[in-house]
């Protein structure tokens, strides 16, 4: 990363006086959230705002024969009833493919289904009314005549000759296939002393963000401007897409995110319902609000994680892993989601399996097939939970087969800490990882030997506790390699603009966004440190395409690493500008000055020379007193994009300690540990809390969460009583430790941390359950979620069900 020529000599992040880097400073936006003064899009009202509700297909697959709207149009409060065909005159369809996923194909998707509904829950007609309740009343009066079609509801048979092809023009139901071979996996398996083969199955999940998806679209015909209040993670991406599909120029569109009640990837995608809402606003020339209610969220929020992976590992008696072989089958919905595509999750599984380990012999095949179920796309940790569970599951099955301790087999196979830069078996490139240091730290932190002794002692009393591990790697700080190279208008770079105000405070505007992880706080801490003011004098503006630099938003754990680096550079640049101005006021040399604690000071002695408020007063109100030819520039913008590495991989290791009640099949989570290396840590508390929140989502995956579809493509448990999200009573305390290996691709050296918890937790729990049950001769469990029923079957208390 080059250092800007106009910056003073670089200090390392830790050298700045009163630096906030590495400090757990409370987030500035929390107080108002504790007072109930958040401003979520779901809270918004605008003058003349109307509400949209959607008629949704009850069938997984059906031709729309006719739509009778007369009765609905006459219902109280109704402003408009709009079909897909009518709306398609206002908004164009889209196709979710990217060129770098070779062969990925998908059919055009409309904002409202036009000829066919392709999943249960897909919108088939929109009603706009004065109130949401009246819109729902009118939806019940819309008469849609459906002709049911056979539904493709089983990924295993989606490619069979006898299975209907959902989009005949595509030829078959195969959305994407990727095959990767590295090294000599056949030889690796032949040379193994033992080959373990098993099938892992992962239940479909959904995000269940506490605030459902919310959007208020406001088309002002007088200005010919569309303002969209949208709880999205990527406002500039949505600005581009709204403009593109409504036939507008980007500068006619403004996207504002406001507070977002949880996202985790759910709100980074393009949804038909939201596209329909903006189209309705343009059509009806008034603000339209749509908030997905919880029931419709379950059938329209993207799903994820629906994979079946058959897998093999070869291992020698000395613990050396000799080969990896996986075959992944995933069933998505009828469309690849736009614009990030539904091929990425499977692609990541091929990329990441075996990643932490030295064994180069690897064969992988991934197939993505269309189904008549809700659409699937990126959700927190995208593919990592599956790749990690598969890899780490195989590692511990191999260890058990040869009678080796699970940490020992890892010690013998994890890429050595001094072997970097290196690559994984799929060719992914690692700058610098710390697998062994993290393992050693975990071993000590959890008192592994003590837990093993406790496990042994309790086993003698018929109490079955298990310890399971998961080493992981995690993609963060993505470069253009993730999406841009495939043609997506998704920005991998980001920017921060910092301005000095008239009283000496700084206002930071940034393209990264906040959904609760603390992106605002991190930007504030970095800017305050780089520039030299107390954090109370920093204001951060995010989530507004009119008022921030062009950027990517927050996803793939990029806010701290990419947004933070831009803030660091911008802070340094503004400091240089301000010192230039101060030098001319003070008749001094800029290099002899610094900014600390809100004032220009003598660099050597630290004594105050000029308060920032005074400098601002002169620059803004008395520039007549500045030397001729000198123009103060009290605002600086810098951008950053990772260039040296396609992704900043982080690494870590997790452990789960649990107890299985073999009488009831219930699992009690006793403890969880995670050692995380995310490079420079800007705010330790925020990183730890991201890990904890992510771990709990992974624990939910392992034990509770599952979108259950029947053979007709009907979601049978789409409500919060039947789809089980983790609640407080079942979750353990989670201990987090850190190792720090900064990236050299930025001055701050910060990598991302938002998704690592979710990546490793399911695999660790699976391994712990199997560790608990192994002495009983139970068949290893490899199908998530690990429900009491599945555990009872594994220990033979209940017969196998079909």
């Amino acid at each position: 990363m080059k250092v800007a020529a106009d910056s003073p000599p670089t200090l390392s992040a830790l050298d700045r006086p009163n630096s906030y880097i590495g400090r757990s400073v409370p987030r500035p936006n929390l107080a108002r959230l504790t007072q109930g003064r958040g401003q979520f899009v779901s809270d918004m009202t605008l003058p003349r705002m109307a509400h949209a509700a959607f008629v949704r297909s009850p069938h997984a697959h059906a031709r729309i024969a006719s739509i009778g709207t007369a009765a609905a149009k006459a219902a109280p409060g109704v402003i408009a009833v709009v079909t897909g065909a009518e709306l398609s005159r206002v908004i164009t369809p889209w196709v979710g493919v990217l060129t770098h996923l070779k062969g990925l194909k998908s059919a055009p998707q409309h904002a409202i289904a036009v000829e066919r509904a392709c999943w249960q829950g897909e919108a088939t007609c929109a009603v706009v009314a004065r109130t949401r309740a009246e819109a729902e009343d009118a939806c019940e009066l819309v008469e849609v005549e459906y002709e049911e079609l056979p539904a493709v509801a089983d990924p295993e048979t989606a490619l069979d000759a006898g299975t209907p092809v959902i989009h005949p023009e595509l030829g078959d139901n195969l959305a994407f296939e990727r095959v990767h071979v590295a090294g000599d996996p056949d030889r690796g398996l032949r040379e193994a002393d033992a080959v373990v083969e098993t099938t892992f199955v992962f239940g479909r999940h959904t995000g269940v963000t506490n605030e459902p998806r919310a959007i208020v679209a406001d088309w002002n015909p007088g200005e010919e401007r569309l303002t969209v209040y949208h709880g999205t993670q990527a406002p500039h991406m949505m600005q581009n897409l709204f403009a593109k599909h409504l036939g507008l120029a980007e500068h006619q569109v403004r996207v504002v995110t406001k507070d977002v009640g949880g996202s985790f990837g759910i709100k980074v995608h393009t949804y038909a319902d939201e596209m329909a809402t903006v189209a309705l606003a343009k059509l009806l020339k008034r603000p339209i609000k749509f908030v997905a209610d919880r029931i419709e969220s379950f059938v329209t929020d993207i799903h994820a994680r629906d994979h079946r992976v058959t897998a093999k590992i070869g291992v020698k008696n000395d613990g050396t892993i000799t080969a990896w072989d996986i075959d992944d089958l995933t069933g998505i919905g009828p469309y690849s989601v736009y614009p990030r595509t539904s091929g990425i999750e499977a692609n990541q599984i091929v990329n990441l399996t075996g990643g932490p380990y030295t064994c180069p012999n690897y064969r992988a095949r991934a197939r993505v097939v269309f189904q008549n179920k809700n659409v699937m796309c990126q959700y927190r940790a995208v593919g990592h939970p599956i790749a990690t569970a598969v890899t780490e599951g195989l590692v511990e099955l191999a260890a058990a087969r040869i009678g080796m301790d699970p940490l020992e087999i890892r010690r013998r196979n994890l890429i050595p800490d001094d072997a970097h830069p290196s690559s994984g078996p799929s060719g992914i490139k690692f700058e610098a990882l710390s697998h062994h240091e993290c393992l050693a730290h975990l071993d000590a932190m959890m008192n592994y030997a003590g837990l093993r002794a406790e496990q042994k002692r309790l086993r003698a009393q018929g109490i079955h506790r298990g310890i399971g591990f998961a080493s992981f790697i995690e993609v963060t700080n993505p470069s253009a390699a993730f999406y841009g190279v495939g043609g997506a208008k998704i920005s991998s770079q980001d920017g921060v603009t910092i301005k000095l105000d008239a009283q000496g405070a700084i206002i930071c505007q940034t393209g990264v966004t906040e959904q609760g992880q603390g992106a605002e706080a991190v930007i504030a801490q970095v800017a305050a440190s780089a520039f030299g003011v107390p954090i109370e004098r920093v204001r951060v503006i995010t989530g507004d395409t009119d008022n921030t630099p062009y950027g990517g938003g927050t996803w793939a754990s990029r806010a701290a690493g990419i947004g933070g680096e831009a803030a660091w550079q911008a802070g340094k640049a503004l400091r240089a500008n301000v010192l230039g101005c101060a030098a001319s006021i003070l008749q001094a040399t800029p290099n002899d000055l610094d900014i600390r604690d809100g004032a220009v000071v003598d660099r050597a002695s630290g004594s105050e020379r000029l308060p920032l408020a005074e400098l601002a007063r002169i620059a803004y109100f008395r520039p007549d007193t500045l030397p001729p030819g000198f123009q103060a520039e009290l605002m600086a913008t810098r951008h950053y994009v990772p260039r040296a590495w396609p992704f900043a991989f982080t690494n870590g290791i997790q452990a789960s300690y649990l107890e299985v009640d073999i009488e009831s099949g219930f699992v009690t989570l006793l403890g969880h540990w995670c050692v995380e290396d995310c490079g420079t840590v800007i705010n330790p508390q925020l990183v730890d809390e991201q890990i904890r929140g992510g771990v709990v989502q992974g624990l939910g995956a392992a034990l509770f969460e599952h979108c259950r579809y029947d053979e007709r493509g009907q979601l049978t448990n789409g409500n919060m009583a039947d789809y089980l999200v983790p609640m407080a009573a079942e979750m353990p305390d989670i201990e987090v430790g850190h190792v720090v290996t900064p990236t050299a691709d930025s001055e701050l050296g910060a990598k991302g941390a938002g998704e690592a918890g979710t990546a490793g937790a399911p695999g660790a729990v699976m391994n712990a359950i199997n560790d608990a049950l192994r002495p009983l001769g139970a068949t290893p469990l490899t199908e998530m979620p690990f429900t009491p029923g599945r555990i009872l079957e594994a220990v033979g208390k209940v017969g196998k069900s079909d």
């Binding site: 109930g36 709990v696 979750m731």
Partner: protein, 162 residues
């Protein structure tokens, strides 16, 4: 009278409010849409997530499972009112210090539920805190920071913090 629309008088955060309500309007929608008190949130509308928690005549209830029309003559306290009186200032401070909120959507319900537990007195253990908050969904924090904050306040209020 068996009517759809009813006049109700409700005391909300100490302020008497008179409105005509559609019988089907839930209390949380009434507070949010009619009175602009958007601090109480709607997360599920079937009583599971707890984001809509408000205090009705002194007890924490689900705002989505109570009808506004049932609250004629009742006292309702929302997060805004409870916050403005300073009743939960220590809880709010502890939540901020411990980062016991991320997106903030569950937080009003969490605070009201926690306050109801703490108002009973004593120093509940972590398992008791978790059990009491088991009806408040949080997707962001994983709950530990929330338990830490509530435990810290319980100890401080009972004078057992060193």
């Amino acid at each position: 009278m068996s009517e759809r629309f009813h006049d109700v008088t409700v005391t909300v955060n100490g302020e008497e409010v008179r409105e005509r309500v559609d019988a089907r309007t839930t209390l949380v929608d009434f507070l949010r849409e009619e009175l602009g008190l958007t601090g109480s949130h709607v997360g599920c509308e079937h009583g599971v997530c707890g984001a809509c928690s408000v205090r009705l005549d002194g007890a924490v209830v689900r705002g989505c499972l109570t009808l506004a029309v049932q609250c004629d003559g009742a006292h309702v306290d929302t997060i805004e009112g409870v916050s403005d009186t300073g009743e939960i200032a220590d809880l709010q401070r502890a939540f901020v210090e411990r980062n016991a909120l991320q997106c903030g959507f569950c937080t009003p319900g969490m605070l009201l539920s926690a306050q109801e537990l703490l108002a009973a007195g004593g120093v509940p253990g972590r398992a008791t805190i978790r059990a009491h908050l088991s009806g408040n969904y949080c997707r962001c924090t994983g709950y530990q920071a929330i338990v830490d904050a509530v435990e810290a306040v319980a100890k401080a209020r009972s004078g057992t913090t060193p």
